[in-house]
Symmetry: D2
Subunit: 352 residues, 4 copies
Amino acid sequence: MIRIGVIGFGYWGPNIVRNFNAVDNAAVVAICDKNKEVLNKLSGSNPGVTLTTDVNEIINSGYIDLVAVVTPVSTHYDIAKKVLEQGKNVFIEKPFTSTSTQAVELIDLAETKKCKIMVDHTFIFTGAVRKIKQLINRGDMGSVYYYDSVRVNLGLFQHDVNVVWDLAPHDFSIMSYLIDEVPVAVSAWGQSHVSSLEDIAYINVHFNTSTVAHFSVNWLSPVKVRTTLIGGEKRMLVWNDLNADEKIKIYDKGVEVNGKQGIYDLLVSYRSGDMWAPKIEQNEALFMECNHFIDCINYDKPVINDGTKGLEVVRMLEACDKSMKNEGRPVEIDYALFQNSNLLDKGNTDLI
Amino acid sequence: MIRIGVIGFGYWGPNIVRNFNAVDNAAVVAICDKNKEVLNKLSGSNPGVTLTTDVNEIINSGYIDLVAVVTPVSTHYDIAKKVLEQGKNVFIEKPFTSTSTQAVELIDLAETKKCKIMVDHTFIFTGAVRKIKQLINRGDMGSVYYYDSVRVNLGLFQHDVNVVWDLAPHDFSIMSYLIDEVPVAVSAWGQSHVSSLEDIAYINVHFNTSTVAHFSVNWLSPVKVRTTLIGGEKRMLVWNDLNADEKIKIYDKGVEVNGKQGIYDLLVSYRSGDMWAPKIEQNEALFMECNHFIDCINYDKPVINDGTKGLEVVRMLEACDKSMKNEGRPVEIDYALFQNSNLLDKGNTDLI
Amino acid sequence: MIRIGVIGFGYWGPNIVRNFNAVDNAAVVAICDKNKEVLNKLSGSNPGVTLTTDVNEIINSGYIDLVAVVTPVSTHYDIAKKVLEQGKNVFIEKPFTSTSTQAVELIDLAETKKCKIMVDHTFIFTGAVRKIKQLINRGDMGSVYYYDSVRVNLGLFQHDVNVVWDLAPHDFSIMSYLIDEVPVAVSAWGQSHVSSLEDIAYINVHFNTSTVAHFSVNWLSPVKVRTTLIGGEKRMLVWNDLNADEKIKIYDKGVEVNGKQGIYDLLVSYRSGDMWAPKIEQNEALFMECNHFIDCINYDKPVINDGTKGLEVVRMLEACDKSMKNEGRPVEIDYALFQNSNLLDKGNTDLI
Amino acid sequence: MIRIGVIGFGYWGPNIVRNFNAVDNAAVVAICDKNKEVLNKLSGSNPGVTLTTDVNEIINSGYIDLVAVVTPVSTHYDIAKKVLEQGKNVFIEKPFTSTSTQAVELIDLAETKKCKIMVDHTFIFTGAVRKIKQLINRGDMGSVYYYDSVRVNLGLFQHDVNVVWDLAPHDFSIMSYLIDEVPVAVSAWGQSHVSSLEDIAYINVHFNTSTVAHFSVNWLSPVKVRTTLIGGEKRMLVWNDLNADEKIKIYDKGVEVNGKQGIYDLLVSYRSGDMWAPKIEQNEALFMECNHFIDCINYDKPVINDGTKGLEVVRMLEACDKSMKNEGRPVEIDYALFQNSNLLDKGNTDLI
């Protein structure tokens, strides 16, 4: 039995509790929130669960094996560091930390303490992303030409981070899961209108190949959009996450150049065939993720969305901020950061 | 009666002929195409119209008042120059010319010859764009926060220009018509996959204010999208040009910051009211445009989409190309180009 | 404080419990289900709530004021009769009873015992239906020409009733709430394919005027549809209950006949103006309904969806069954049924 | 070369002319319309084509092989009779005639005169209907459970016929083409609101099996809908004719009853798999139809949509009218009508 303490019971906390409780041989035994009213509401329906406003009661408990940190980003590093120092495993909300330096330190600490970190990149556990991964892996798409995501809605939910840190972690983690290439640079261009934080931004991800990734994130859109186009050599797909029944549509469409006869005679042919919407598994992604973490802890397996994956995303977000301060000029991704880390010493070459 | 000669009878030519013929006191009297078969097909149903493969027959005709140039971009400058030298008015396909230098020369020549130029930016004559202009002008939107256009489809129609020169002229001309601000820089980032020409590109338009414009253009999309989001201080709208019945949806939605109490307590309130889809005029835009040109010629009025508007777009396209060659770094819009032109001498201050 | 006992904790039961508990001065104090496992799951998180497999424990309890009957239709009459005999108020799932004779008996019994009945016609408490009611009442639609509902999906959820008894109660109760006219006949035509119960049916509701109502219900549709068209003299609307953001669209469209000059010269003019999607209240309908019932009990107010409304729907369903057995011939609605009931004695003239 | 005369050049006439002219070895040589202005507009662009206001000039011409009758229904019989008497082939708008008696007479006359009749049921030549036919024929759907069509819009285009005669001929002809069963009865229920003609109607088509067909036709809908659901034993499909790219969606969905254990234990299982939108041929249906008729004339082949098919539809429309006058009671389809016709004598058993 893995005993879990949850820190933070705001918007997302209840989902974390419900899903960890649904996993076999796991149970939430303590919940911490600084808001007493929240705890009072919980008291009736959660007999036997420790409810506290004191973070340390969870961190220092000798009874708890795993702590879920579901608090604002700015608090992640401090809490997670203490948790790891106590030799406990950490499940932590995205984005992992406020800086990549913090992320590296936590990863190293976890190594030393033989603890595991999971960063909550829930989307890679969805049926939709899993299906796309499968399509790409078995060659149905051919080589990927572009990954183009629009993730916009009305809502300034975050008070301490801009729209890039709020919405783009989803895109960076999904892209990293799907595309087997290492980004070499990122450019981002944003603007703030309502507060001092950017509320609209456009992000380009540069690779050494002709692969293109682009994310549009926006807190000031009148309509909610969650649509990703992925263009491949052989097929193209549209993933509309708001479409309940046809989340993924795969198009047997493509372009071929069959030759060239002088400057005006590029011989282009188009292929336009059937469209196909595969059935998507309906399992709740957060349950799959919680289950994976408990499994990794019990059998000492590697975590798919571990600290290095969280670090990778944080490094991208830092690069976005730097680029936005510089009017969208591209920022190279610096891999030197890791030279003093024991991460690379161990030949962890699949680091982004 | 304005007598019109049309050069080029490919995809768009027949529409030009049909619409100029529908204008009162205007008639197409000659059509030129290098393809004899095209002319043969026309011969039966166009009695009295001169059909020729020789461009000069139209350019030099003493009978023709206005020449419509509906040929590939690379040929625009040469043909238009000869036409203007003959003292004839010119209607010319977008984009105006291959370089801004050519555009300036043609504008100056037209000035000298007392001729008029219209560049075919058809979209600004559509009911949809006219309605949006009206909404912005009468203050319904409040100040514009962003203009975000997605214009993608499967199709590599152009053999001599990239996707930016093919699709972005629409966005540049519409944006210029709707937004009363001068762009100071442009950045563009593109990639080619099928030929040596960029087939996907993302464009940022920088202003001196917090206004943001962004265009996504793509020849490799499995689905056709023609959607523009415009966010304003008071209202927001979605223009979906592929929606026959509800092209424009206006949302009574917005965000307000009502105060701030410490770092985590930004007091944000959201307004979410009714949606409204105004009736859009159904007149064919190209007819409205042709009619406007004939009217301007007859009564010596200024043309809305004249050579300077065409030049503005070409200058943006050039900046995009320069930026794309430089990995998306922003390129300032150089207004010095015009210093030797007699355009600015005359205090044409509305030239952006 | 109104103390509530809930009988039946299957698919809908948990929603009933949650919403009655959310009402001020109301609390669910007992839950009955014949399935012990269901009760075991409830035991941990519902301290103080009586859990039982014995219906009579709830019916006979001296502590309970109101019983919610959330069981299959065939059991409604027996349970509700015993509940009323004990002088308790009854909240009962739709459809009210299996026969209109049963319904009349229960209504009479409730009168005698001074108890209240609410039949769970949830839809009339939704923001969408309330908005449509408002539009019709204030004359925005003009007189109603037709009410046309399509309610189809894949699913044979009911084992003891056909598709008409499963889906059409929604339409009959909504129609009755919206349209201020008395149906005079009903015709229904259905067919069974998978079991002996009809799984597809079409229903016509006849009025003495030119008003038309038609319902299409179907358990064998590959797609879920919940769309109602309402055509009025002045305006027309589409209510798509599956559209989260634009549930109701009101069209300023209409037809007028301006005169007639001979047989081929009907002078028809069409009006096609703006479309408008009003903001819909987001309150959970079931909570509004529970709250209304508690309010009616506390202050002895009339219940909107009381037994007579439930009876009205049952009578329509019976007429549908009769018509379906007779190849869709219309069946008159018989009002004589009520002659021996004390209902009509009291001049309850709004009984349809 | 088949020489064609066209009578009637209103809304549909120009399409008929264009498409017959596009067929190899066919040419429209004469056009008749009672409106002189229409003819004047045609004169310039149609050199060599006889333009006349006199129907007889076309009917009696020794030069014409085929007459297309594109006039209101009430005139079909008189014109077609004269055309056939002159030994010419007839292409005739749907619906074929105003009465089935007229239709039988024309069919007999054509037999006698060795002429061919084609009734313009264009839809059965569309790529969409052809694809559905193919799916049904090769068993992909399994046996057909139901055919459910919604064909509604705003528009009272016809002045001499009701909405059933205007819109339902499409559904009757498509249904007849797709479903290999003989209707035994029809019921229809309609109402008029704007003129004395029914502007809304619902039609049930009864078969001897459990197959169900239902059409909803409406001239007073604020939105245009052209959607048909077809449910089969093995698969189900949605045909949305207004969807340019995904006209047909085929769902691998179904219901199975696996047994029964007592009254509440019907063991139902649902199958919900992939969705598939096949590529649809884009050829213009009217061209395919014109081409088929010319081919049938040249090589004396049977016409798919011949007079008997037209008669079948007219008989259904008559039954609808009769049912509508009788409050929707079912009307049996009377096959006795044909007993004196030489049609049946020849064992034309595929006559429904």
